[in-house]
C-alpha cells in the first residue's frame, strides 16, 4: 500500500464491514446462558487487517468500530465491555503475529479467548463480583471455537483478496 488514499479507503470499508458484522451479531444468540459470549464476527476484520496491513490499522478500525457500535446499538456498559475485549484481543493478536509462527487461524483463536478474558476482567471491575470469573472456562472454550471459525474465514479472505498498490 503506497498511496494513503487507498489505505484510507480500505480502512473506511473495513470500519463499515466491522459495523455490519457487529450489527448482524446482535441477532445471533450463540450461548445465551453465559453473559458475554459472542461470535466475535468483527474479529474477522481485525484478523484481516493485521495480516494485510499492520496492527495499528487494525487497532484504529477496532477503536472506531467499538465507539460507533456502542453509540448506535449499545450503552456505556457495553462500550466498556467491548473496549476491554478489543484492547486485550488486539494486544494478543499483534504479539502472536509478530512471532510469525502462527497462521491467522491460530492467531484468531487466541485473540477471541483474549477478547472474552478482557470482558470478564471488565465485568469483575464494573460489577465488583469476582465470581464472574467462574464463567472463565466456558468463555475460553467458546472463544477458542468461535476464534477458529472466524480465523478460518479470515484466512480465506486474506488469500483471496489481493491488495496491490
Amino acid at each position: 500500500m503506497k498511496t494513503s488514499t487507498k489505505k484510507l479507503t480500505l480502512l473506511g470499508i473495513s470500519v463499515a464491514a466491522a459495523m455490519v458484522l457487529s450489527y448482524i451479531e446482535t441477532f445471533i444468540p450463540v450461548s445465551v446462558a453465559v453473559p458475554g459470549i459472542k461470535l466475535g464476527l468483527a474479529n474477522l476484520v481485525t484478523v484481516f487487517l493485521i495480516y494485510k496491513l499492520d496492527w495499528k490499522s487494525a487497532a484504529a478500525v477496532a477503536a472506531i468500530r467499538v465507539l460507533l457500535t456502542a453509540l448506535l446499538f449499545g450503552n456505556a456498559a457495553s462500550l466498556a465491555y467491548s473496549a476491554a475485549g478489543a484492547v486485550l484481543s488486539l494486544l494478543v493478536m499483534a504479539l502472536i503475529k509478530s512471532t510469525c509462527r502462527f497462521s491467522p487461524v491460530g492467531m484468531s483463536a487466541a485473540g477471541a479467548v483474549a477478547h472474552n478474558a478482557g470482558q470478564i476482567i471488565m465485568a469483575v471491575i464494573l460489577m465488583g463480583v469476582g465470581e464472574i470469573a467462574y464463567w472463565f472456562p466456558m468463555l475460553v472454550l467458546s472463544g477458542t471455537v468461535t476464534g477458529l471459525a472466524t480465523g478460518a474465514v479470515g484466512a480465506i479472505l486474506i488469500s483471496k483478496i489481493p491488495l496491490k498498490d
Binding site: A33, V34, P35, A109, M127, V129, E131, Y134, P137, T144
Partner: protein, 122 residues
C-alpha cells in the same frame, strides 16, 4: 500455509483447551455446596433465603422492575423477568458457593454463600 504453522496452531489450541479444563478443575475443587442465596440490588444486600426451603418470590429491582426468583430442590434460579435481555432467566440454576445469577439491566446479583454468609470462594 506451511506445516510448521499448522502444528503451532494446533499446539496453541490444545493449550487453550487445557487452560479451560484446568480452570474448570480448579473451580470444581474449590466450589462447595452453598447454604443461602443472597439477593443484591445495585451492590446492596436486600435479602437472603436458605437453599433448603422452596420459595417463589418477586424481587423488586431498580425502577420497579421485577425478577421472579425461585428456590427449588436446593437450587436457585430466575424463573422470569421483565429485563430486555432475559440473560438472568436463561442462566443455569445455582447451588454452589460463589455461583451467581446476574441481571445486568436490573443491577441484580443473586449470589450463593456458605454457612455464616461468608463467601469463601475466590
Amino acid at each position: 500455509m506451511d506445516k510448521k504453522r499448522i502444528v503451532n496452531d494446533i499446539i496453541l489450541v490444545v493449550a487453550l483447551l487445557a487452560l479451560a479444563l484446568a480452570a474448570w478443575g480448579v473451580i470444581r475443587i474449590t466450589h462447595k455446596s452453598g447454604d443461602y442465596a443472597v439477593v443484591e440490588i445495585a451492590g446492596e444486600e436486600t435479602a437472603r433465603y436458605p437453599l433448603n426451603e422452596d420459595i417463589r418470590i418477586d424481587i423488586e429491582a431498580e425502577g420497579g422492575h421485577v425478577n421472579t426468583f425461585v428456590i427449588s430442590d436446593g437450587k436457585a434460579y430466575v424463573e422470569s423477568a421483565d429485563c430486555p435481555d432475559k440473560l438472568c432467566v436463561k442462566q443455569h440454576a445455582v447451588s454452589r458457593v460463589g455461583e451467581t445469577i446476574i441481571c445486568l439491566p436490573h443491577k441484580l446479583v443473586i449470589r450463593i454463600v456458605g454457612e455464616g454468609g461468608v463467601d469463601t470462594a475466590l
